[in-house]
Amino acid sequence: MNRSRDRLMHWLVVGMILAGIWQIAEGGYIKAKAWLAQYLLQSAWETTQAGEARVRPWPWADTWPVARLRVPRLGVDQVVLSGASGRTLAFGPGHIAGTATPGMDGNSVLSGHRDTHFRFLRDLQPGDLIELIPASGARLMYAVVSAEVHDQGDLWLLDQGQSLLTLITCYPFDALLPGGTGRFVIRAIPLKGAGLHPQAPLFADPGEQQRIYM
């Protein structure tokens, strides 16, 4: 028996088990955060609906609820956050800055992680109803009209030509590693009497608006 080899194996096994637990914890943490954050966001959302703007769900947050997204058929009910940076998307789907504010005339684009919040996108069917509740409290109904796969560079998807709800997530859904260039895009059109308001003058802060260009 080679004792030093045994010791090596021993530590290797300990290391593997620890690393395994660490990885599972890491992965679980992401999932748990995504799931838990939605509950934490509820109170911020209620304050938002009460008329307060930019309610930060926790003091150090750099995002705030802007709308609520529901798909009754799939039992989806999520609070949408402002901005679509990686930090924001960990907590909920994000509204891409520069696209129409939910509830305003124009193309509102929401984006979410394919493996957490927006996993449900692949289960959407043409004609599915999507409910979008902006801070004003109105209930806007949209109907899904298309699902398409595009490249991440196809920025025309953010164009404001017509009133739409665009939901974007990564594609393929089951790729193990992030970083792919495909995007799965759901387009939904507002139903009659959805009550969209003409787009108010865009935000005071131009920076947020222009991120999509250079």
């Binding site: 290797l12 088990i17 992965g27 992401i30 984006s111 493996d115 995007r183």
Partner: protein
Amino acid sequence: MPKQKPVNHLGRDMWFTSLASLLAGVVTSLLLGLLVFIFIRPVEAADNVGSLQSERIRPDLVQRGSLLLKQASGGVVVEAPVLHTDVAMNISGMLARVTVRQRFRNPAAEWVEGSYVFPLPEEAAVDRMRLRIGERLIEGEIREKGEARKAYEAARREGKKASLLDQERPNIFTTAVANIAPGETVQVEIEYQQAIPYSQGQFRLRFPLVVAPRYIPGYPSGSPEVTAFQGNGWARDTPEVPDASRITPPVVAPTEAPVNPVSMHIRLDPGMPLAHLESVYHAVNTEKNAQGIYQLTLQDAQVPANRDFELLWVPAPGNAPQAALFNEQWQGDEYALLMLMPPAPAPAGATALRVPREVIYVIDTSGSMHGDSIIQARAALKLALERLTTADRFNVIQFNHQTSALFSRAVAATADNLQRALSYVDRLVADGGTEMLPALQLALGQQPEQGVLRQIIFLTDGSVGNEQALFSLIHQQLGDSRLFTVGIGSAPNSFFMTRAAQFGRGTFTYIGKVAEVGEKMAALFSKLETPRLTDIEIHWPQDQPVEMWPARIPDLYLGEPVLVALKLQQPNLPLTLTGDAAGVPWQQQVTLRGGAARSGVHQLWARRKIADLMDQRAQGVAEPEVRKAVLDVALTHRLVSRYTSLVAVDKTPSRPADQGLENKAVPTNLPQGWSAARVFGSLPQTATTSEWNLLVGLLLLACGVLFSRWPGVGFGVRVGPVSDGKVHGGNVL
């Protein structure tokens, strides 16, 4: 009982063993199940999505969205004309005559109209355009811009071949060629005159090869459905940049090979022996003949138009020019281009003269700076910081679409503060827009204490479209500060940089690659730290009307000459140059006798006059007034300007009336080292590593458990020492 012990152990071992095997088995099967699950699911899902797509998505539309939009606007997809550019330069002394030949080939089966947005040096005096169709040459005429466009549009409608050359910015031009038959090649020849800048003992000729995508501040104006396709640009017009769509040509996808090959031939007659001749960014073949004339060609017969070409030559020691005079008689007037090297300031007191400085570093961290550019900028900034002494004060401002400063106002350059600044610089990342105005406002806004020299070092690629607004701001708020621009990257907007430095009464330094940072920054520091020549004036004899451009001679830094273009009534005038070198007045007498007669000097004079007139816009002169003055000069001297264009029209129609005409913009390359995703942005990244983490974690756990069964590793199967002292491993397994 020593004999019983092993038996007991064996029993316990058996128990542990079976438990461990069971556990391992369960985990393994779970793992296998998971693996199967994972590897099967994507296929299933893909099938699902596939069927989903076939129901809902027309395959021809997937991933070709932009094309779809263009079709929606009523156009048909036609291949853009293929462009080949051939550049021939004839450099003699300080003057260059350059011919740019653009060959448009139409690969499509339809008749097309091609348009190409391309750069030229910002001081180029463009005076000639010819349209070559087979063996025939059609000479272009200079017209007011609107009239030229009308003439071109009329020819286009009538099916005649025509070409139009417009200036969008002093360094951005557009050629449009109408009615190219299927498979046909049409050539547009553009000629310009240029004086080569001479500074710090070096001649530098820069020929830009690509218009870098510009940041367009502001919101799209007008209704988006209509404006989205204006002028073939990818940006919409905004109130800040009303011609945005005309200066933003389509860019080829980064996955495609570079387009628009360029070949170059340069004949250089420097008029003096050279110590050094170098093409800085492109490999060239050089031949020198007995008369000291050089012939240069690009080593790769063709290079893609994706980074600026720069040629540098240094006169041999003792041959550095002290003065140069080029003249021409044109329509009864004398025109002259005069270069004078002022006496060098006394080098002795250079350090003694050092006044305390307040240096504000402004660094562009927008998306266009991503890649090599930000590396260059960081390196340059660190060098600059290290150069500060404790007597100096400094601050670092970074901007993309937001502006932020390291300190709320300038602080003393203590070791502690410098350390903070250096680590701040290390952390700079390039992403986002280029909102330059707030950054400049912040940098120019604070005024220093009395007796402190305030210098702003501005590191950027200048990829903005709202140059005029920025010039106005610099002009109004400069005060006693001085603005030095440092151009970064493979294709910076040198028109913006040189003009901004001029309005800021500083200098422009260009850094094209990381290796140059040290050398170029050192040259800039020596300019910053040595006293400059100020209040430079030229005194002419009384009663002599002399029209001189630039009207006011800018301050000169170390190694910079006075360069003026003159219009005189008679030759051989004496003049006196006076100035002030850090409080010491100096003067120099010159007589304008002799010199080399060159054609085109009057156009260089006119070009400088136009540049000065255009600058008056930033100084508050109304546009119509400027326009009238510029039109007058440009039409007289046959120059392309913001208000004048060259147009060439064939006499006979070539396109049959029943054939349609498609408009196609020639796409341009992204400058070398640029990242498309950083420049144009991309849709958000929407996946986490959670599933990967979970899978890796499970695999590791499973491996750990499997290996724990390895003989000798012993988890729960360790056997105690037997009576004879020998160690037994888990041999029961």
